[in-house]
């Protein structure tokens, strides 16, 4: 039994090499200066208007997307968990598809469907309705639930399957309407799962840039896009990118920590 703990070694080594070291090197680069250490890049990251705006946009975008995913995913998960086994199995594999698709493929799919000359807008034009702009903030908000709702639902379905139906019925048999049962029993009971699923979505959204880049280029100011432009474009500045990446990771970390604290309240 004692020997079993060594089984973790290969994994730990791998993590150290491919996660720990890059993380360290990002931190190092963000601070390195010819004559020692400098916080100048952090100062820039936290004062330059463009970066502050990007930071703000990223946080708001990730938070709103997470809320949307939680709201939509809850209902999808609840509905799915009550289906017969076969249908449920099929749907759950279907939910895994968007999660594993490349951001570019998804972006292209949305362009075909909702782009300027997409199916929907041609239909809208024919009906004399205003055109839907996919390349706007609302457009982006419409795209991301495509990943996030299934992702969140997948995280929550197992919990709902074990406790959901029983709790709803117990609440109903106690005299609660379906709405009361949801609000007073099911939601609080699911809270740990909701927060865990929300954490996954939030962390993903803070770093998401592939689909955004494909849809709107650099038109939308997000922290992840700022980093990308500093790494891959003519504005190449790796140390500044490293500083921004650290800010992004720290913000995500704080967000996750708050969610974890919140979750602990429900675990007691």
């Amino acid at each position: 039994m004692r020997g079993e703990r060594f089984l973790i070694l290969p994994g730990l080594l791998f993590l150290l090499l491919f996660f720990g070291y890059p993380l360290y090197s990002i931190l190092e680069r963000s601070l390195a200066a010819p004559e020692g250490l400098t916080f100048a890049r952090y100062a820039r990251a936290l004062t330059a208007h463009a970066y502050l705006e990007a930071w703000h946009n990223s946080l708001v975008f990730a938070l709103l997307s997470t809320l949307a995913a939680v709201a939509g995913g809850l209902f999808v998960a609840y509905w799915t968990s009550g289906l017969p086994l076969r249908v449920k199995g099929f749907l759950m594999s279907l939910y895994a598809v968007p999660v594993s698709l490349s951001g570019l493929v998804v972006a292209f799919g949305f362009i075909v469907l909702l782009g300027r000359n997409g199916v929907v807008n041609q239909l809208f034009a024919a009906l004399g309705l205003p055109r839907f702009d996919l390349y706007s903030w609302p457009g982006l908000f419409l795209v991301f639930p495509f990943y996030n709702i299934p992702l969140f639902a997948l995280a929550l379905i197992p919990l709902l399957e074990t406790v959901g139906k029983g709790l709803m019925e117990a609440a109903r048999a106690s005299g609660a309407t379906p709405f009361q049962a949801w609000v007073r029993v099911l939601l609080p009971a699911l809270m740990p799962g909701i927060l865990a699923g929300g954490s996954i979505v939030f962390a993903g959204m803070m770093g998401a840039f592939g689909t955004t880049l494909a849809l709107t280029g650099f038109a939308k100011n997000l922290l992840s896009l700022q980093i990308y432009s500093l790494v891959a474009e003519s504005t190449f500045d790796l140390p500044q990118a490293a500083a921004l990446a650290t800010v992004l990771m720290a913000s995500t970390g704080v967000g996750l920590y708050v969610l974890a604290l919140w979750e602990r309240r429900y675990r007691r």
């Binding site: 029983g166 709790l167 019925e169 117990a170 609440a171 109903r172 048999a173 106690s174």
Partner: protein, 336 residues
């Protein structure tokens, strides 16, 4: 108090409840007994309002409730897996139905106190469900079900997730509680011993139909079908023929029966006694000591009879034994 009138429920091609009619009287402890898949739980869920019948009617206190949701029916329910609200304390769980009725907090507190006293859980108000044993959790569930002051208490295999010892203890308490409150109880179980111990009347179910309905004594002593005879209690079904009020195999047996034609008599192990002039002679194949009794399997005339003796009797496997038969035995006609 609860009336089912020709109730049918099907899921796709499976008929779960196939024309069940029965009436539970006020203050009665009524049990639906049967193996898994016999429709007993669906029947209970039809009364609770979690399912709606395809045909027939469910009435509670004379009022048709087919269209009422569970929260609109005068019921309380206890589930097999307790289904306590994990985010609420014991107090919160029991208070839940009361708070839904918007009773003043002072009244809620008093009533929860009374209910917890009733199920012997005083002092545990502040605990969360996961901090309780299975037996304690089910007591909380019971208190919560009673908090709604239901006309009918519905219990879906409430004891089957518990250890044998706790199960028996809680069984006794359940019966006591039901007696004291005078509540009508509709109980579902697959455990025939539990059904016999608790019930005023039992409906034995099979394939969505009521196979036999009667008091525990009637069900045990006079099963009306082979299924009931096999499902309830232990015994031996001896094939033969009923002729002129007596049971016949290759010769007439000194056992009175009612009925005519081919069929089986049911011999319970406690009705068979060793006797020097007993009618049957056989050899003991197996002797099992069970503490309170000694159970034998006696082979005689091509039949394997189960016989219960006093545990002090010194009988061993291989012994020869003469057995006296009961004067009369239930006769069950061969099924077509």
């Amino acid at each position: 108090m609860v009336d089912l009138i020709g109730v049918r429920k099907r899921y796709g091609r499976v008929v779960a409840v196939d024309g069940v009619s029965l009436s539970v009287r006020e203050g009665e402890f009524f049990t639906l007994l049967g193996p898994s898949g016999c429709g007993k739980t669906t029947t209970l869920r039809l009364v609770a309002g979690f399912e709606t019948p395809d045909q027939g009617e469910v009435r509670i206190s004379g009022q048709g409730v087919n269209r009422l949701p569970p929260e609109g029916r005068p019921i309380g329910m206890v589930f097999q897996n307790y289904a306590l609200f994990p985010n609420m304390t014991v107090f919160g769980n029991v208070a839940f139905p009361l708070r839904l009725r918007r009773l003043p907090e002072r009244v809620v507190r008093r009533k929860v106190g009374e209910l917890l006293e009733m199920v012997h859980l005083q002092g545990l108000e502040g605990r969360y469900p996961r901090e309780l044993s299975g037996g304690q959790q089910q007591r909380v569930a019971l208190a919560r079900a009673l908090a709604r002051e239901p006309k009918v208490l519905l219990l879906d295999e409430p004891l089957s997730a518990l250890d044998a010892k706790i199960r028996e203890e809680l069984r006794g308490e359940l019966k006591r509680l039901q007696r004291e409150t005078g509540l009508t109880a509709l109980y579902v179980t697959h455990d025939q011993e539990e059904a016999l111990a608790l019930s005023d009347r039992i409906a034995v179910m099979r394939d969505g139909k009521v196979e036999q309905l009667g008091t525990p004594q009637e069900i045990y002593e006079r099963p009306s079908t082979l299924f009931v005879a096999r499902f309830v209690g232990i015994g031996t079904l001896v094939p033969g023929e009923a002729r002129e009020g007596r049971f016949h195999r290759d010769r007439p047996w000194p056992v009175q029966v009612e009925g005519e034609g081919r069929g089986f008599i049911l011999l319970r192990p406690e009705q068979l006694r060793p006797h020097p002039e007993g009618f049957l002679e056989g050899q003991v194949g197996l002797a099992t000591y069970l503490g309170s009794l000694l159970r034998l399997e006696v082979e005689t005339e091509g039949i394997l009879l189960k016989v219960d003796l006093n545990p002090q009797e010194e009988v061993r496997a291989g012994d020869r034994l003469r057995l006296a038969l009961p004067e009369a035995a239930p006769f069950i006609k061969e099924e077509a």
